[in-house]
Structures are given as C-alpha cells and as structure tokens.
C-alpha cells in the first residue's frame, strides 16, 4: 500500500468522527435508545398485566365452577326433600282415607243395626196387632162353633209353644 500524507486523513477522521458522534448521540441514539427502552418497558408491562388477567380469569373460572357445584348440590337436596315430602303426603292421606273409611263403615253398621232393631220392633208390633185381629176374628167366628173353637185354641196354644 502506497502511504499518502497521514495528516489529511487523521485530521479529517478526527473532526468528522467527533462531529458525527455528537450529532448522532443527540439526534439519533438518544431518541432511539429511549424509544426502544420505553417500548420494552411497555411490552413487559403489557405481558405482566396479561398474565395477571389470565390468573384472574382462572380464579373466576374456578369460582364459577364452585358456585355451579354448590347450586347442583342444592338442587339435589331440594329434589330429595320434595320427593320425601311427596311420599309422606301420600302416606298420610292414605292413612287418613283408611281411617275415614273405617269410621264410615262403623257408622253405617251402627245405622243398619238401629234400622234393623226399629224394623224388628215395628214388625213385632204389626205382628201382635195382626195376631189380635186374627184372634178377634177367630174368636168371633169360633164362638159360633164349639168344636172348631176348641180346635183353634189347641192349635194356637201349639203355635205359642213354637214361637
């Protein structure tokens, strides 16, 4: 390499580099490095908040799950209770119905017995009056016929014994 005058390039390189350095430092590196740094910070912040949001979301999901579980259990309990209540009601009403029926049968029986007694009493009274009528007629009839009278008395006595 043919060496040329050293002072030219040394002088100009020094001047140009120093001026260039200060110009770039002021107008380029400062804003660029600042922007890069602030953006990195904002990206980091955004990532951190996204992470926080994700965790929050997870918590919410877990909460939802828990609430749902509770609700399901409550529903089951309610259903069970209702079923029990239904069974109990059915059982109760059956018992009630049975008691009522029994009581009605009892009353009916009592009424039938009373009716029967009354009917019997009436029948007796009817029979006795009929008997008296018959006897009266017979007597009137038989008193005119001695033989028949006797026979009738005997027959009646026989009937009384039978009764």
């Amino acid at each position: 390499m043919q060496l040329t005058s050293p002072e030219s390039l040394i002088f100009w390189t020094t001047i140009i580099f120093i001026v260039f350095f200060f110009l770039l430092a002021k107008f380029a590196w400062k804003p660029i490095l600042g922007a890069v740094k602030s953006r990195e910070e904002s990206i980091n912040n955004a990532l951190a908040s996204a992470e926080a949001a994700r965790r929050e979301m997870q918590n919410l999901t877990a909460d939802n799950e828990r609430i749902l579980q509770e609700a399901r259990m409550e529903r089951d309990a309610l259903l069970k209770e209702a079923r029990e209540m239904k069974d109990k009601m059915i059982a109760d009403s059956k018992q009630e119905a049975q008691l009522q029926g029994e009581r009605m049968i009892e009353q009916a029986k009592a009424a039938i017995a009373a009716e029967k007694n009354a009917a019997m009493a009436e029948l007796k009274a009817q029979v006795s009056s009929l008997s008296l009528d018959i006897a009266e007629k017979l007597l009137k009839d038989e008193l005119s016929n001695k033989e028949a009278q006797t026979k009738l008395v005997e027959k009646m006595l026989g009937d009384v014994k039978l009764n």
Binding site: S8, F11, I32, V36
Partner: protein, 380 residues
C-alpha cells in the same frame, strides 16, 4: 470442525488465499514495470494496451488514497471527479482543485499556486525544488518527508467517502428517530430493519462486556463506531463511483478509531483499573519496575491490535478481489474471466460477511476494553 465437512469450499478458499502471493511474487520485475509505466503514462489508449500490465501498481492505486475520484477511462482519457486540494504551505493556506495536476502522479506536471511550484508523486504533493533533491527511496516514503512538502489537508477520496457515509448514516438514523415519535408501537420500515441491529449492539456487545450498570453511558459511542465502520466497509466493497474507497482499510483511519477507543478506555479507567497497572494486586512491590512497563505496554497493545486488525482484514479483502480481477490481464485472455468472475463473486460475498464481522469485532473489543476499565473487582 466445520471445514472438514466441506472439502470443496476449503479447497476453494485455499486457492483464493494463495492468489495474492502470485501477485506480489516478483518485486524486481515490478520495479521495472513502474519505469515503463511512468514513460507510457501520457500516451493514451494505444500505449496503455501495449505496455505490460502491472498488477501491483493497479492494486496499490486502488487500495490507497487519492486526490481525485477516478470514475472511468474514455478514449484514453481518464474521467475523474476532482476533489479539492487543501494545503498548508510556507505561504499559508492554499485551496485548489486536484484537476490542476492533470492526473500526474510521477512528479512531472508542475502546478503553480501563488508563486509556489508543486508536483505530485504517488498522491503526495511536494515542493518542486525540494522534490528534485530527493532520492528515489525518499520519494517513495514521501508521505513522511515533512520538510519537502506542504501539509496536506485535502478532501481526498477517503475523506469524501467518509463524509458521504456520515451523511447517509445520519439521515438514516434521523429517519429512525423520527419514526419513533410518530409510531410508538412496533417499529415499521427502516426502524424495523435497524432496530434489531441497535438492540444487538446493546444486548450482545455492551451489556455483557461493560455490565448492566454502566453500559448506557457507552452505548452512543459503541453504536457510532459499529455503524460507522460497517457502512464504510460496505462502501469499500462497491466498485464504482461514488463508492469504492478503501477507508476502513487505511491505517490512518483505523489508527484514529483505535486511538479514540484508547482515549475512551483510559479516561473511563476507575481506581481498580489504574491500581492493576501501577500496583498489580498479588505482585511483590520490587517487581514493579518490570510490571508497570508491561502493564503500560498492555494498555497500548490493545488499541494497536484493533488498528491492525481492521486495516489488515479490509485491505486483504480488497487485495484478493483486485488480484482476481488482475488475473484476466496477467494471463491476457478473456477465457480467464469466468473463473476470475466466479472467484470475485465468492470473495465479494465473503467480504460482505467480513465487513459486518470486523465492525462487530472492533465494537466488541472496544466494549471489552471499556468493560475492563470500568469493572469493579472484588479484590482477590
């Protein structure tokens, strides 16, 4: 090892790596070429075709600095973009266009500036009278013959491309900064492309090497050198005007960059850093006369390595590519061009990787040195 899995690529790379040696094989022959070329300099296209091709000359002129931007040759006449020449002469400041030298680089064409006669020899401007007293060897090392030449503060090809790169970068990052004001959400467009690089420098270079507490202070410096070196590496790979300069492959440039890192490191040094240099813990005090110079040399070798690494890597890449192109002219047949072209394509792609890699390495090591200077040791 990765290479052993790819014998073809390895062979390829090995051949490519050997090519520059062919180019420099015979310096004795080269010097005879120089004289023939000097004679043939002003004879136009026909003379150019007749004279023997000199790869070393071509490569040197391409990787070196220049006062004008050579764009192309048309009908034997070079078309150039003329840059201003700024000289601090015995009579004070002189500014004129490099067109005045009429492309002469052999000390033949005399330029009269306010009564002072100047000549240019291999891109170094001399006073004519003093130039004539110099020997051939002194002329070749003319860059350091300060008594025979005015101080040269010209806007050279490299200065021009450096200015261009700073303007490109400044506009680019200004646009990025502005886009953040408008759009505080995810980056879009140019910001989306450059922001990963910015965060890469921050998260992979600054943070691990300097430490969480102090890295912020050095971020502007690290970002600036990373993008500055990278874009200039890339500009050097584009083979046409207004690019094609070899700024990051220029040792003066890498010297300044490394020196700035050295200054930043030195002025960032805390108590522990200086303590390690002047009173290395665990070393008996009577060893100090040895240890202190060694530590001070250590301070200097780190930026020195930075300077050499960038310079050598970029220059080597340029030399390889130029050598491959030169092969066509050395063999003097167009039949070589497909092979040469394929190699150049391969090397160019590789150099694009190297461009990013060297910017990364320079930034990484700068961060590492700063990190060492600001580290708080728990004494062991």
């Amino acid at each position: 090892m990765v290479i052993s899995n790819k014998p073809l690529q390895f062979l390829f790379a090995a051949i490519v790596a050997c090519i520059p040696f062919v180019g420099f094989a015979n310096p004795a022959v080269d010097s005879t070429h120089v004289t023939t070329e000097a004679v043939a300099e002003h004879h136009g296209e026909a003379a150019h075709e007749e004279k023997e091709f000199n790869a070393t000359e071509l490569i040197n002129s391409h990787i070196g600095d220049a006062h004008e931007f050579h764009i192309a040759d048309w009908g034997g006449h070079p078309i150039s973009f003329y840059l201003p020449v700024i000289l601090w002469t015995n009579n004070g400041l002189e500014i004129f266009s490099s067109e005045k030298f009429h492309h002469d680089n052999e000390g033949h064409h005399v330029v009269d500036v306010n009564g002072q006669e100047l000549v240019r020899y291999k891109e170094v401007i001399f006073y004519k009278d003093k130039f004539e007293t110099l020997t051939e060897e002194e002329r070749k090392n003319g860059a350091f013959a300060f008594d025979a030449r005015p101080l040269d503060f010209s806007i050279t090809k490299n200065v021009f491309s450096m200015l261009m790169s700073t303007i490109i970068l400044f506009l680019l990052f200004l646009a990025v900064a502005r886009s953040y004001k408008k759009n505080p959400k995810a980056p879009k467009g140019i910001a989306g492309f450059l922001e990963p690089l910015v965060t890469f420098v921050r998260d992979e270079i600054a943070r691990p090497n300097i430490g969480e507490k102090k890295y912020g202070k050095y971020m502007p410096y690290l970002l600036t050198i990373f993008f500055f070196i990278w874009i200039n590496n890339l500009i050097g790979l584009i083979p046409f005007f207004p690019f094609s300069s070899n700024l990051t492959g220029n040792i003066y440039f890498t010297f300044v960059m490394a020196f700035i890192t050295f200054l930043v490191t030195t002025f960032s040094g805390n108590k522990d850093y200086w303590g390690h240099i002047f009173n290395t813990p665990g070393v008996p005090f009577w060893l100090a006369p040895i240890m202190v110079p060694v530590e001070i040399i250590g301070m200097l070798t780190k930026p020195f390595a930075l300077m050499i690494r960038l310079f050598a890597n970029i220059t080597a890449g340029h030399i390889i590519i130029l050598s491959l192109v030169s092969l066509i002219f050395i063999f003097d047949t167009v039949a070589v061009s497909p092979i040469s072209g394929a190699f150049v394509l391969f090397m160019s792609v590789l150099e694009m990787l190297v461009a990013a890699l060297q910017a990364y390495v320079f930034t990484l090591l700068s961060a590492l040195f700063i990190g060492q200077a600001v580290a708080e040791h728990d004494h062991h």
